[in-house]
């Protein structure tokens, strides 16, 4: 009667440390330049080596410039040091690095699946909270801090408090124009940004199995916004088809058919959502849980601090709200299928006057594939900037931002105060909603 999570946990448990904590074997580690250099430097200062560097990977995604023709330089003051120090530390430790202009460069959680680094049944950790994205492949993948990254590199293990289990079942079919982004925003709106605290959340139900792998990643991506330990989806034929032939995936693929929750498994918590009732969503506040259907109004009992920051009033309608910026990117929604759907909407049209619009592909491979299909031409023809891949303006590193006080419709995952720059007002939504809003200059349904 174990769940998928229990099976992976038990298979990786080296020792019971008592009090609900276990020593868990770690199969893959991923670092990025924002936190990677700190972890590697601190490890080296303690004269500790990386035990198995062949299973540790690193990439430049957070601070790296996304303007065309980039090198190590960044608009962030001191940003270049993160890049050069990470590079030196990776070389010294013998870690595979996907460097600034490597053809495999991209956002950690986009390239790890692309390269077949994440695989079903593995444990994978990264000092990045959106590592949960990779749970879409049936792996136990979770975010940690720098100290734990050091621990994993030095020992091949982590000391982990066993999370509780939660199953979120989406049944029924999604309506046209409704996406995985709307599913997760609906969950957050209904159960709050703390709703999954301390739980590993398995997403299941026919609406989940119907999703392609890229949409499943979007769903798992925001498990961290639910305060969950991570999200996970059982692997199936779609998972295997996606992974087959990827650079680091085994050939042939092993038999992963036992990686599923047993029918009689019991979860600590169950949530059921009728997928057919989900509407396109948008956030209004400064926590991802502060989201509503696009057609709804800002709630009456809205948190006052968030209203002031966002320049909104209770009862105000979100549809029709003027925007200054439209941003398509991030590990949530910047894969090829996201860009295709957005391009479909903007084809032959133009961004509204005065709106700054950008598309930042999630990886260099996504960028090349999009260009091969002519998506870049559709976007630039419609007045969008077309960037090199990276996290870019998903967050404000201290360099590039949007014009002060901008209202941004964004395909990202966080609408925190200042997340995209001081005073920037972020509304998160699907790439479709972002594209449609870019054209209209106002928050608009696709």
């Amino acid at each position: 009667m174990p769940s998928l999570f229990d099976k992976i946990w038990d298979a990786h448990c080296i020792a019971d440390l008592g009090g609900g904590t276990a020593l868990i074997a770690i199969d893959r580690i991923f670092l990025h330049e924002r936190t990677g250099a700190a972890a590697l430097k601190s490890l080296a200062e303690a004269s500790r080596a990386v035990v198995d560097p062949s299973r540790v990977f690193a990439v430049m995604d957070h601070i790296v410039d996304t303007r065309p023709g980039r090198g190590d330089g960044t608009l962030m003051k001191g940003g270049e040091a993160f890049i050069t120090e990470t590079r030196a530390a990776c070389h010294a430790a013998g870690i595979t690095l996907f460097d600034v202009n490597d053809p495999n460069q991209g956002i950690t959680h986009v390239i790890s699946p692309e390269l077949g680094i994440v695989l079903p049944g593995l444990t994978l950790i990264a000092p990045d909270s959106h590592t949960c994205t990779q749970g879409a492949f049936g792996a136990l993948a979770w975010g940690i801090g720098s100290s734990e990254a050091e621990h994993a590199m030095a020992t091949g293990t982590l000391r982990v408090a066993k999370p509780k289990t939660m199953r979120v079942t989406f049944s029924g079919a999604l309506k046209k124009g409704v996406t995985a982004k709307d599913m997760i925003l609906r969950l957050l709106a209904d159960y709050g940004a703390g709703g999954g605290a301390g739980h590993i959340v398995e997403f299941t139900g026919d609406a989940v199995t119907a999703l392609d792998m890229e949409a499943r990643m979007t769903l798992c991506n925001m498990a961290t916004e639910f305060a969950a330990f991570s999200g996970i989806i059982a692997p199936d034929e779609k998972t295997y088809a996606y992974l087959k032939g990827r650079r680091y995936a085994p050939d042939p693929l092993p038999d992963w058919s036992s990686l599923a929750t047993d029918p009689d498994a019991v979860f600590d918590h169950e949530i059921a959502i009728d997928a057919s009732s989900i509407k396109p969503m948008v956030s209004w506040g400064t926590s991802p849980g502060e989201s509503v259907p696009l057609s709804a109004r800002v709630p009456q009992e809205a948190n006052a601090k968030a209203l002031v920051y966002m320049g909104l009033e209770s009862g105000q309608s979100l549809e029709g709200l003027r925007i200054d910026v439209a941003f398509i990117g991030s590990c949530t929604n910047s894969r090829l299928s996201d860009l295709r759907r957005a391009a479909d909407l903007v084809k032959g049209q133009h961004v509204a006057p005065g709106v700054l619009a950008l598309v930042v592909p999630g990886s260099s491979a996504v960028k090349r594939a999009a260009e091969a299909e002519g998506l870049d031409q559709i976007f630039t023809g419609a007045g969008f900037q077309w960037r090199e891949s990276g996290c870019s303006l998903c967050f404000y590193a201290g360099g590039e931002s949007f014009p002060a006080g901008s209202r941004v419709i964004s395909s990202t995952n966080r609408n925190f105060e200042g997340r995209q720059g001081p005073g920037i007002r972020t509304h998160i939504a699907s790439p479709e909603v972002v594209a449609a809003s870019a054209l209209a200059g106002r928050i608009t349904a696709p």
Partner: protein, 197 residues
């Protein structure tokens, strides 16, 4: 790491839910690849009217002289959510905090606290008013908070408690189990050879 045994201090109330790590230390304040020099950027978005000029916002609790020297921060639900940046904990610790009491914590932040000698106390209910802006005594071994005549107990898992009490380095602790790890790995190499690259 400095052990945490008991602590008597004034508490500083920052009563909000979902205080995220971007608010605790914005990315722009993480200016070097090291773990220090962060205290000045702690809560920068709320603490300064103008972050570049470092003009303090007199209405923000960190700038209220009443609370100078307070080593315990009190907050609401889901404290430390968002980015996994350990800088949030490093900044709090460097500023002088040794304990955060909240209704709940985001999991990565909580683990980061334990790794750095900062005690996270989750109360799983509204923080009693008497705890706010009060001088209280925390006894980790007894898992108790004393304020005035009252005594409140709190939950914490064994692993975190021991690590904090002893000020232990988790890596050293784990390396004591080197043999178990090696045994596990050599078995695993034959069971799942495809995992090893």
């Amino acid at each position: 790491m400095m052990p945490f045994t008991t602590l008597t201090s004034l508490t500083m109330p920052l009563i909000r839910d979902n205080v995220d790590t971007d608010a605790i230390i914005p990315s722009r304040e993480m200016k070097s690849t090291g773990k220090t020099g962060l205290a000045d950027g702690l809560f920068a978005p709320w603490r300064y009217l103008d972050a570049a000029a470092r003009t303090p916002d007199p209405d923000f609790v960190l700038n209220d002289p009443t609370y100078s020297g307070a080593q315990i921060l009190i907050s609401g639900e889901n404290f430390g959510c968002g980015s996994s940046r350990e800088h949030a904990v490093w900044a709090l610790a460097e500023y002088g905090f040794r304990c955060v009491i909240a209704e709940s914590f985001a999991p990565i932040f909580r683990n980061n606290c334990v790794r750095n000698g900062l005690l996270p106390i989750g109360l799983a209910r509204a923080v009693p008013d008497e705890l706010k802006s009060a001088i209280i005594t925390i006894d980790l071994a007894a898992q108790s908070i004393q304020f005035g005549e009252q005594l409140l107990s709190f939950e914490i898992d064994e692993e975190a408690k021991n690590m904090l009490l002893e000020g232990m380095d988790a890596i050293d602790l784990t390396l004591k189990q080197k043999d178990a790890i090696q045994n596990w790995q050599s078995n695993d190499r034959s069971n799942r050879p495809w995992v090893y690259l």
